[in-house]
């Protein structure tokens, strides 16, 4: 067993000090030390994507990263998605509306994958979304409704942005 070390993690905007073994993975720290159990573990070898979280805004596999590696970086988990009053955000609502989840085990991974992807490519086509959805595994849905949920959410976000731009333009005119 190796020496423990003190690290500082920023998760969902909150800073935590932890004393951990260097071999401790980010997903284990999130789940078992910080008790943020929304992030799940499906394979521990980076294929299934159930542990996907955002690292400085980009989706990563939390099972393939040591917690010590992300000191000082911004980590976001599924627990950060809902609004402060507990209501679900638009992406979460789209998953529910399209029945994009059944058992719900893979869902946090897909949510964080989509959240990261849509932030980077808000104009993504349905085909591009399907390609990105292929990063993670789901055993229940056959993926179609996950793709539809993300596509719907993206379309709504674009429409919302356009409406705000239009309103702004109207105001300035």
């Amino acid at each position: 067993m190796s020496e423990k070390q003190l690290i500082e993690l920023i998760v969902n905007g909150e800073t935590h000090e932890l004393i951990i073994e260097p071999r401790r993975t980010l997903v284990d720290v999130l789940r078992h030390d910080l008790e943020l159990t929304g992030t799940h573990v499906g394979c521990e070898h980076g294929i299934c994507g159930a542990c996907t979280v955002l690292l400085d805004g980009a989706p990563v596999r939390a099972c393939l990263i040591f917690a010590a590696q992300v000191e000082g970086h911004d980590v976001r988990t599924v627990e950060s998605l809902a609004h402060a009053d507990g209501t679900l955000n638009d992406l979460q609502q789209a998953f529910s509306a399209h029945h994009g989840l059944q058992c719900g085990f893979c869902t946090p991974g897909f949510l964080m994958l989509a959240e990261g992807f849509l932030a980077e490519r808000p104009e993504a086509t349905k085909e591009e979304i399907r390609e990105v959805v292929a990063s993670n595994l789901c055993r229940c849905t056959g993926y179609q409704t996950i793709v539809e949920a993300i596509d719907d959410c993206a379309a709504r976000r674009r429409a919302d942005l356009q409406a705000r731009l239009d309103a702004h333009a109207a105001q300035s005119a």
């Binding site: 929304g38 992030t39 627990e79 719900g104 390609e131 055993r139």
Partner: protein, 790 residues
């Protein structure tokens, strides 16, 4: 329908409306509670020392170094824990069925790579892994039996000394008199020989358990992800010698099961026994490697089947030989007979078959044992039967859809050659609609057009029905000695007028918290927000059989409905008394109250009635006791109800890579009344995805030493969104006459139809080559070979 706006059916009922799922908010917020999310004070972590050989005698287990590893708290062998074996039996004499014992931990013999030998317990999951590395097990290696053909060879070494010819089940059924003459005289006889790959049901959440002894309750409290909590309790009590009262099994949120979790696992018993011994909470979470190699597998079967047809394409007889490679042990409670008995009993399926003979065998091999997996043998025998019809159509130069039409059961109820009575379905209608859809979408035209341009397209179908809702009678017919079937539900109303409803079924993705609440809401005339379904707690739920075999809505849903109706009667009786009228003059008002039939203004809300039932019981009618609670059970009389579907698939074969691309997938399904259409579609699509996975991608391989070749997702090819097609679903509705809601099961159908439809489409595409593929999964290599110019 816009998915954001749940629609309600014109009748204003909850049943039939795709309401938002009750499960969703917590699962989407990351606030579900799965077994690995449970942290108990002082909790220890367990893993298993597992066999590294497929077959051997254990000559020594040395755990002394394990116990020295920092962080390790204990390590136990079979001798240390002294648990009774898990033994699943059928009510059949030897040699029809040979019972075999599955020890919780291997004692002196190991029978597959990954078999648990010892449990190691440490303060954290990392320490357990350190501990495992220090374990020393010595074996005298025995020759492994890795294939079913080797298992059946005369003189082959025995996996179980008490199972001659490595055969755990051997039955010949039906054997219509004169069947050999039918084959002798028939103008057309076709034959299908096929082998299907060993698969992993692969719930994305692996198996796991947290167990602790509770001094206050004097109970072993076991939180485990299982589809069958009461069966785990029964086996755990038997293995440890505890009374069943002293075991409480609770099921947290569960990340899928698909059958792998509908049998009792050795590891969950061993972990609980270790917690009992240590008097400390112990958690075991299966890692993916163990889940891929040592968890219950399924589906490896070999068929040799002949069918006789007359010159007009009418089927005359089927003669089948089915061999299922069940691996090293019989699973509890179903036994190794589950797959061959399912195939043998149900194979005639949707067709009017005059003569039938089947031999079904379960052989034991040195591979991880098997459990029922979504569809249980039906994906395979449907594939075989559908291939027989395609082959006969070719031999007789008939249209493959037309030959099916001529043979489908169209008059119901229909009692088949297999002594099963089929309740009404839409066999012909679903086939006609499915064919129509593919025609209307222009796929036949497209296939013809592209054929001239070296594009290889094929169209394939699968027609099938699926018995859903096996009652005690149907399982008893299989001669199970532990007979599942009934379900019991209790509906309780509290002083707020809200409802708590128990069910012995166990949702793990199927949405029962929503769909069962819909059933209750309709029966009592309340908003579903006022109904909470309670499941997965053996102390709170009366003995039940969990969720498998598409039984939950048909049987569990019927029990829930029946209990609700009983409670409604009590509410009306109290209301009648308080309103000073006869109960016949009252009715539910559909808005959480009881009113007078002829004067709707005279009404008492459920809150008011509950207030009397609990807090002012002196006001109750004389013959009504205090409290508001009703219990009802439901069992299926007779042969159960059959859901049916036709799947139609268009594939394109890519000559460069051998890839099978699914261009179009159409499913026409009939599960009777759909409680929640969106959930039904979800079950269909998810099932189809697993069927496609089986026919095109997944296979657990073994080398000649019995070493499994799939220890990670690099080797076990689970399809992603890139491989899955869009799936169009059309609904037909033939209500079930005897379930309380008219619903039939919808859990497995997708998985059952997909392999046959895809395989038929691939063979349709290969028609020009003269090559036929019958084994699955269909590999790119096999397609490439088939496409090579002769």
């Amino acid at each position: 329908m816009s998915p954001h706006e749940p629609t309600f059916t014109p009748g204003g009922t909850w049943v039939g409306a795709s309401v938002p799922r009750r499960e969703d908010p917590r699962l989407l917020a990351g606030r579900g509670r799965f077994v690995d999310d449970i942290h108990l004070p002082g909790m220890l972590h367990a893993q298993f020392v597992r066999s590294t050989v497929a077959h051997g005698v254990i000559t020594g287990i040395d755990l002394s170094a394990v116990r020295e590893v920092p962080g390790v708290v204990a390590a136990f062998t079979a001798a240390d824990l002294d648990l009774a074996d898990i033994t699943a039996v059928l009510d059949r004499p030897e040699p029809e069925f040979v019972p075999t014992d599955m020890p919780v931990l291997a004692r002196d013999r190991v029978r597959y790579v990954g078999e648990p030998i010892a449990i190691v317990i440490a303060r954290d999951p990392y320490g357990v892994e350190d501990g495992l590395e220090a374990a020393v097990v010595d074996y005298d290696v025995l020759p492994p039996i890795v294939t079913d053909t080797r298992a059946l060879e005369p003189g082959a070494p025995l996996v179980h000394d008490n199972a001659p010819a490595n055969t755990l089940l051997d039955v010949t059924m039906f054997a219509t008199e004169g069947i050999d003459d039918v084959f002798g005289q028939a103008p057309c006889v076709v034959r299908v020989r096929t082998k299907t790959g060993r698969q992993n049901a692969l719930p994305l959440e692996t198996r796991g358990v947290v167990a602790e002894w509770d001094d206050r309750d004097e109970q072993l409290r076991v939180q485990t992800c299982t589809q069958v909590p009461h069966q785990v309790r029964t086996v755990l009590a038997r293995c440890t010698g505890l009374d069943e009262r002293s075991v409480r099994v609770l099921v947290p949120d569960m990340g899928g099961g698909f059958g792998q979790k509908c049998v009792v696992g050795r590891e969950e018993i061993a972990t609980a026994a270790a917690a009992l011994r240590l008097r400390r909470p112990v958690k075991w979470i299966e890692d993916r490697k163990d889940a891929l190699t040592a968890a219950f597998l399924a589906r490896e079967q070999r068929y040799d089947v002949r069918a006789a047809f007359d010159a007009d394409g009418r089927i005359l007889a089927i003669d089948a030989d089915v061999v299922c490679d069940m691996g090293a042990y019989s699973c509890y409670p179903f036994t190794a007979g589950i797959e061959p008995l399912m195939a043998s009993a149900e194979m005639p399926g949707v067709y009017r078959l005059p003569a039938y003979r089947v031999r079904g065998r379960a052989v034991t091999t040195n591979k991880a044992p098997t459990a029922p997996y979504r569809g249980v043998s039906r994906p395979q025998y449907v594939m075989v039967v559908e291939r027989l019809f395609e082959k006969a159509a070719r031999a007789l130069d008939m249209d493959p859809v037309e030959i099916r039409r001529r043979n489908l059961i169209t008059v119901f109820p229909y009692t088949g050659i297999n002594n099963i009575t089929y309740d009404p379905g839409s066999y012909l209608e679903s086939l006609n609609l499915c064919e129509q859809v593919l025609h209307d979408e222009g796929w036949y035209e497209r296939k013809r057009e592209l054929a001239g341009r070296d594009r290889v397209l094929g169209i394939g179908y699968a027609c099938f029905s699926e018995r859903t809702g096996y009652g005690s009678g149907a399982f008893a017919q299989r001669r199970m000695s532990v007979v599942p079937g009934f379900d019991i539900s209790e509906v309780r109303m509290d002083t707020s007028g809200t409802l708590t409803v128990t069910t012995g079924t166990l949702s793990h993705g199927q949405s029962h918290e929503t769909t069962m609440a819909q059933i209750v809401a309709d029966r009592l005339g309340v908003d579903i927000a006022r109904v909470k379904i309670q499941q997965g707690d053996t102390d709170r739920v009366t003995y039940g059989w969990g969720s498998f075999a598409s039984r939950s809505i048909t049987i569990g849903g019927s029990a829930v409905a029946a209990a609700s109706v009983k409670l409604a009667d009590v509410l009306r009786e109290i209301a009648a008394h308080l309103l000073e009228t006869h109960v016949e003059n009252t009715e539910l008002d559909g808005a959480g109250g009881v009113r007078l039939r002829d004067d709707h203004a005279k009404r008492l809300s459920f809150e008011e009635l509950a207030d009397v039932a609990y807090l002012r019981a002196h006001l109750l009618p004389k013959d009504v006791g205090p409290g508001l609670c009703a219990t009802a059970s439901f069992d299926v009389a007779g042969d159960g109800t059959f859901s049916n579907a036709t799947h139609g698939v268009v594939v394109e074969l890519h000559p460069g890579t051998g890839q099978v691309e699914i261009l179009r997938y159409v499913c026409v399904e009939d599960c009777g009344v759909a409680i929640h259409p969106q959930v039904v579609e979800g079950q269909c699509r998810g099932g189809i995805a697993q069927g496609i996975a089986g026919v095109l991608f997944e296979q657990v391989g073994y080398d000649e030493n019995g070493e499994p070749s799939c220890a990670s997702f690099m080797d076990y090819k689970v399809p992603t969104a890139a491989e899955m097609p869009e799936i169009a679903i059309h609904h037909l509705e033939t209500p079930c006459a005897f379930t309380e809601s008219g619903a039939k099961g919808a859990g497995e159908g997708g998985t059952i139809g997909a392999p046959a439809a895809v395989l038929n489409a691939v063979n349709d595409a290969l028609r020009v080559t003269g090559v036929e593929l019958d084994d699955t999964p269909i590999t790119p290599e096999a397609v490439l070979r088939a496409l090579e110019p002769a």
